[in-house]
Structure formats: C-alpha cells, structure tokens
C-alpha cells in the first residue's frame, strides 16, 4: 500500500476545467479571490479571457453566473463550500435554482478536512442546503477519477449542479477499467451480505478500509459509493438494504440533512430498515490537521469500523 496515489479533489476540479476548456468554448470559470486555493488557476492560465475574478463577493458572483447562463455561457462558480453554499445560499436558490439556470457550483474546501483553518471554514452543511433546492443536482466525488468525471457530467447536464470538492489529498481508487460515471448512479464497490455501508466523498475510502477490518471479524459488508446525493440512486440502496437488512451511512458532513438523511428519507418511505448514521453529530469542527480531525471525529477507516462494530 506504499504507493497509493493521492490527489485532492480540488486539484481534479481545476485540472478537469482546463482539460474541458477547449472542448466546451462556452465554459467560463468564476472565482472570488480564491483561484489559488480552488485550483482553477490552471484554467485561468490556459483560458485567461474565460476566467472571471469577481473579487471577494460571492453573492454577486453567483448572480453574475446566472446572468452569464441566460446568454448561453456555462459558468462554473468556484469558492469554498462555506461561501458558495452557505453565504450565497439565497442567491443560489433564487437567481440560479428558481429559474433553473445552467450554472455549476464548484465548492472546494468542504467538510472538516479543511483542517487548520478551523470551524468557520469547515462547511458541514452544504449538502443539506443544496439538497433542498428543487432541480439542483448535488454531487460529492470520492477521488480524482470520479471528480473529473463529475465535472464533465455537470457540463453535459442542462441545469444547476453543485459539486463538492475537498482540500486534502485522498487516495485514487476508481482507476479501474470498468469505471463508468453517470449522474444519479451509485456504485457497489464491495459486495457483501451482512450490512450495507453507504458512503460519499472521502468517506468511501474509509468505508472500504472499514469493510476489510470487518471481514477479518467475519462481518461481510457491502460498500456503496454514492457520488450523486441528489437525485439519489434509490434503486441501488433499496436492493442492498433488502439483502443486508442493515444500513450505515458515512459522510464528512452533518448527520442532519446530508447523505444519511437522504438515505433515511428513502428507506423510511420505501423499506424501513435500521440505519446508523456516521458523520458530524450536530457540532462544529475545530483546527487541526485533516488526518487528526478525521480520526477524532471517527471518519477514518478505524473510526467507521468501530462505529459499525459497536452498532451491529
């Protein structure tokens, strides 16, 4: 395991935009003085005339993107999740969501793996906020391969899309020949029969690690990677829940309103099943290294293993 390639999904975001810039001439990228951090700088370098720095004014940036979309552009709004989904929530709802405009929101630095900046910048609420907007597609890719595929899918999808990216480097594990990406489709990344672990974003890797530990204890866990939180792949989740009869959700997000809630919404209505949610339990994060925080809040493989083991 010494040579696992690690890339932060925000890097994947910038690289994907740069790679797709020539293919999609209407693609434009907006930043609010964070192009260095959102990693859109590579796009800016390749297509300077199509990169628009709006200054530190996220609400206005979202409105400008909406206006650009009405005249045929495909704008990607880039900022930290805290500001894109949090500060500019109402602009996203009213200027983008309500008129169903073709605006894409690339939100980097989501969750506690922001690390040292601390709770003010660690957005654990964005998936919940974005899920509530009618017509909004919400994605949370798990690694470099999936993040790049999500950016392409967002461009090819007509309508508003929110994509969540992380700051910290995470292992690349989707580089398999059969990798296929489709909005609204989850993937079983490990088959099992005793419990279903549904994970999103960086927690997919933790879930796979936890499943390996559980296997050593004789627990055969199925792991599902859900990149698209909305629309949720209900069919896949229901089929797995029917098989295992127990569901665990894992996300680097509040347990209120994110993947866990989305899965519960589905199961409660269609196939009542016991669920254990793993995530941030109604608390703010804090300063620390990404690795230390993930460990403290039980979102690494060891933490997920422990939670599942105790619950089962």
């Amino acid at each position: 395991m010494a040579d696992v390639k690690k890339i932060a999904t925000r890097e994947s975001y910038g690289n994907a935009l740069k790679e797709l810039g020539a293919e999609f001439p209407d693609l434009v990228v907006l930043d609010a003085d964070l192009a260095e951090a959102t990693k859109t700088g590579v796009f800016k370098k390749a297509f300077p005339e199509r990169h628009i720095d709006c200054g530190i004014a996220e609400c206005n940036m979202v409105g400008i993107a909406a206006g650009l979309a009405t005249v045929g552009k495909i704008p990607f709004v880039s900022s930290f999740a805290m500001f894109a989904a949090g500060r500019a929530f109402e602009q996203v709802r009213n200027s983008v969501g309500y008129p169903h405009l073709n605006v894409k929101i690339g939100a980097t630095h989501a969750g506690i793996t922001v690390g040292e900046d601390g709770a003010s910048h660690q957005c654990n609420e964005d998936l919940a906020l974005m899920r509530t907007i009618p017509g909004m597609v919400v994605m949370c890719p798990s690694d470099d391969i999936e993040a790049k595929a999500a950016v392409r899918a967002a461009i090819e999808h007509e309508g508003p899309v929110y994509i969540r990216f992380g700051r910290a480097a995470v292992p690349v594990f989707n580089d398999t020949p059969d990798f296929k990406f489709e909005i609204g489709k989850g993937r079983v990344v490990r088959e099992g029969k005793d419990v279903t672990i549904v994970a999103t974003g960086i927690c997919v890797d933790s879930a796979i690690g936890a499943a390996e530990k559980l296997a050593a204890d004789g627990i055969d866990a199925e792991v599902i990677n859900i990149c698209t939180i909305k629309p949720l792949d209900e069919e896949l989740i229901l089929a797995s829940a029917k098989k295992t009869g127990k569901v665990v959700t894992v996300e680097e997000h509040s347990v209120i309103g994110g993947l866990g809630s989305a899965v519960c919404d589905c199961l409660a209505e269609k196939l009542p099943t016991p669920v254990k949610k793993i995530g941030m339990y109604d608390v703010f994060g804090e300063s620390g290294s990404a690795a230390a925080l993930v460990e403290k809040y039980g979102l690494d493989a060891a933490g997920v293993y422990k939670s599942v083991k105790e619950w089962m």
Partner: protein
C-alpha cells in the same frame, strides 16, 4: 414615437397596473406607477426587442431588480403585445403565469426571474459581461428601487461593473423616496445616490422620471458613454398618476378596493382626456 404617443402608452400601462393589482387584491402599485414612464420608453422606444420573438438572439435585455413592481413590467409587456392585456387580471392567482414576482420560465418577455432585492443587478451585470465576452452589441438595462440599494449585493455588483467598464449596462434607480417602513432617508438613508455610483466608476445622470425628453436624452447619453457603465437616478413620484396614491408609502404594497379602483381609473381617464385635448 413622439412624447404624446408615449404619454398615451404610459397611461395605458398605468391602467393595466391598477387593474392587475385590484384584481389580485394584492401587489405593489406605488413603485410600479412611479416607473411606468421608464418602462414605457424602454419597451416602446429604446430596446431592440420583438414581442413576436421574445427570445430573439442578441436582443437587448431588461432585468427588473426591484421585482415586486412586476405589475409595471407585466402591464408594459402586455401593452407591447407579448401577451393579452386581459391576462393582467390573473396576476398572482393560482394557475396564472403572472407570478407575484417576475418568472422567466413562464412569462413571455421576462429576461430574468427576480424579486429578492439586490440580486437582479448582479444578473444584469452577468448578461452585460456575457455580451462583452462574445463581442456582441446588445445592451442590458436594470431597474432598482431606491430602498433596494440598501442591499449590500447592489454595491458588490456596482463595484464589478465599474471595474469591468461595462458600458453596455444601464442601471436605473427609481428614486421615489419611499419604502415600506417610510421615507428612505428616515429608515436608512442611501443618499447621496448619485455620488455613490460615481464613486463606483459609473457615469451618473439625474433626471425627472416623468419627463420623456429627459428619459430619451439620458438613455442616448448612456449609449454615447464609453468605458464605464451608466447609472440613471430618476426622481419620481411614488404612485404617479393616481391621486390618492401619489407620495404615499402606504401604497407600496397594497391593492385598491373597489371604490378606490373606480377613483384610480377615473384619474387615469382624466389624463387620457387631457392627452386627447393636447392632440387636438
């Protein structure tokens, strides 16, 4: 179109506003009436648009940033031929396409959904920027309330527009001096409005909102202004044209009852008579 023709159209627009709001038993007549002359000039004279082809490529765009005065926009669009004047009576009713605030998906001629104050101007800036990126020569107009400019987002948008030298953008501020809670300079004064926009690198023109010569001259001046966006601060009378609504903050968001509606329509009929005399 000469001034007399424009005045007649504007009076028709005002009748539509009063009728729509009366029928809806709700809505915002005051700020719709104060901007009726500007709406009329923009849609009957200024803008490159085609009611038969509302989505015409490279048409001029209008964003009603003060979206609550939708009755003014709807009445203008109806009188201009985008849809039936009779439909104005369905305003705000369940099932009607004439939503309480502008909705671009369902209303012919509406270029942007709006209503949450401060947001429209940003979208107008985005449209103007889009034109510049593609070297297109369409122009973008946006109308703001003077109370609306208390929203911080307005100044984020103004800073960006000034910085980007968007000379294809015209920001119009309807300075009727009143907002829901009273006079704007008593609630939280945005004055001096002109000096503020000047400081944000706009070319600023102050005009009388009810003088078509002044409106025409200002919009021509805006077109001739290069290298910076234009802001037109139009000094208006809230409720203009309806005797009991003029200058009253109470008519910001209230519908006339049957009796008041009759008086309002009689006021506007009198204006029609005066215009007919002027014509003869």
């Amino acid at each position: 179109m000469n001034n007399l023709e424009l005045k007649k159209r504007a009076n028709d627009v005002r009748k539509g506003i009063v009728t729509a709001v009366h029928s809806a038993k709700a809505g915002h007549p005051g700020g719709s009436l104060s901007a009726a002359d500007m709406y009329t000039f923009l849609y009957f004279e200024e803008m490159n648009i085609d009611p038969a082809d509302p989505k015409k490529a490279d048409r001029d765009r209008f964003v009603l940033s003060k979206g609550h005065t939708a009755p003014g926009l709807y009445s203008t669009l109806a009188n201009r031929g985008y849809f039936s004047v009779e439909d104005l009576k369905t305003l705000r009713k369940l099932g009607s396409y004439l939503q309480g605030h502008p909705c671009m998906q369902h209303i012919p001629g509406v270029d942007m959904s709006s209503g949450s104050l401060g947001q429209g101007i940003s979208t107008a800036v985005g449209m103007a920027l889009g034109a510049k990126l593609d070297n297109k020569d369409f122009r973008v107009y946006t109308l703001l309330g003077d109370g609306e400019i208390q929203e911080g987002q307005v100044w984020e948008a103004a800073m960006f527009a000034g910085h980007r030298q968007l000379d294809n953008l015209v920001v119009i501020v309807d300075n009727n001096g009143l907002q829901i809670d009273g006079a704007i300079d008593e609630v939280c004064s945005p004055y001096p409005i002109d000096k503020k926009f000047e400081a944000f690198n706009f070319h600023v023109i102050n005009i009388d909102a009810h003088d078509f010569d002044a409106i025409r001259a200002a919009l021509n001046e805006a077109k001739a202004t290069k290298g910076m966006p234009t802001c037109i601060v139009m000094h208006s009378t809230k409720g203009k044209g309806v005797s009991f609504m003029e200058g009253k903050a109470g008519w910001h968001g209230k519908a006339p009852n049957d009796e008041e509606y009759a008086i309002a329509m009689a006021d506007l009929a009198k204006i029609d008579e005066e215009l007919a005399k002027e014509e003869a």
